[in-house]
């Protein structure tokens, strides 16, 4: 645990793990050592549902730039959906 930078957020949705789809309960977001990405530190997101065991995890490990691009893109897509009146919360 070399940075110990981690935040958790409750999430609603589904994720596809090694055993198929499962209900997501939480996303754990850290900036620390990745397991696979060829970086010393990465922006790691673990989408998990601990009630279904530790294997109920969808993991991504992103470079800093990739993470920032992803955040911007998600927000841009949500803005487009909002302008088109497509958001679930608008119905």
């Amino acid at each position: 645990m070399c940075t110990m930078i981690v935040e958790k957020v409750k999430v609603d949705g589904s994720g596809k793990g090694t055993s198929g789809w499962f209900k997501l309960e939480q996303a754990n977001i850290s900036y620390d050592h990745p397991f696979n990405a060829p970086l010393e530190h990465a922006l790691n997101i673990d989408f998990v549902n601990e009630s279904q065991g530790l294997g109920a995890r969808v993991a991504v490990e992103l470079s800093e730039q990739a993470a920032r691009d992803l955040v911007r893109t998600i927000l841009a897509v949500l803005d487009q959906a909002e302008k088109g009146g497509h958001l679930e919360s608008q119905h």
């Binding site: 940075t3 754990n28 530790l54």
Partner: protein, 252 residues
């Protein structure tokens, strides 16, 4: 020195041992075959968990003549693929220092109780395992040598202290009871070269026996042959220093 006409053999298996608070946890034990007596090593695994690298490194130490145990410091966090367990620990802000130290103390006792032990025990760790090793070597009497490989957060600022990490390991330096070998990469960000300097200054302040080696062209985890951080020349030299150091303090 190995000769090609020598017999060699090892045994490696999962065992159960008593750790912090009397909890029974699992561990990977590897030992040379024969009556011994052999020196012993305790390995404190790194943040990515009780993973393949640590199991293979347990075998490596046994290959070099050490009874070696690697306790599963994440045992209480559940079971599954090592990465999934380590991801949970990462999300939970790590494991408590007291728990890790208790598990490593239990591992040392387990080794001392083995009939083929020569009574000397060292401890080795990388990354968070280097930090845990340092804590154990300072807080638990009985270790005869410690190898700290790029242990991050040995030097902590007050704002980094938490319930799990209530004391900066550096503050225990006066209690370090054995010689220490430290290996560090000058491109590392945890620990930084400046933090390594602070650590060295503290060891000098308390007149501890230490050997620090700092490698140019290497960052964090330069022994890890499965990731791009691996640095061949530095790793080969580092391993030579590890085994020379252990031979000096644990053999005979």
């Amino acid at each position: 020195m190995y000769r090609t006409d020598m017999y060699e053999g090892w045994l490696a298996e999962t065992v159960m041992m008593t750790g912090a608070n009397g909890d029974v946890i699992n561990a990977y034990l590897a030992r040379p075959l024969g009556k011994g007596p052999f020196p012993a090593m305790v390995l404190a695994h790194h943040m990515p968990g009780w993973d393949q690298w640590y199991r293979e490194t347990t075998l490596k130490f046994a290959h070099h003549g050490y009874i070696t145990i690697s306790p599963n410091l994440y045992f209480r966090s559940g079971h599954g693929a090592p990465e999934d367990v380590a991801a949970k620990v990462r999300a939970d802000n790590g494991i408590p220092d007291d728990q890790a130290v208790g598990d490593l103390a239990g591992a040392m006792k387990y080794m001392c109780d083995l009939p083929y032990s020569n009574g000397k025990v060292g401890i080795f760790g990388t990354c968070s395992g280097g930090r845990h090793s340092y804590l154990a070597a300072c807080r638990v009497p009985g270790f005869d040598a410690i190898v700290d490989c790029w242990g991050g957060r040995v030097v902590m600022t007050p704002d980094q202290l938490t319930k799990n990490f209530p004391v900066s390991p550096l503050d225990y330096t006066k209690d370090l009871s054995c010689p220490i070998l430290g290996l560090f990469g000058n491109d590392d960000s945890s620990p930084t070269p400046e933090q390594v300097n602070q650590h060295e200054a503290e060891l000098r302040k308390y007149d501890k026996t230490y050997e620090f080696h700092r490698y140019d062209g290497a960052g964090h985890g330069f022994f890890y042959y499965h990731v791009p951080a691996y640095r061949q020349a530095q790793a080969v030299d580092g391993w030579q220093k590890v085994f020379a150091f252990l031979e000096k303090y644990l053999q005979g």
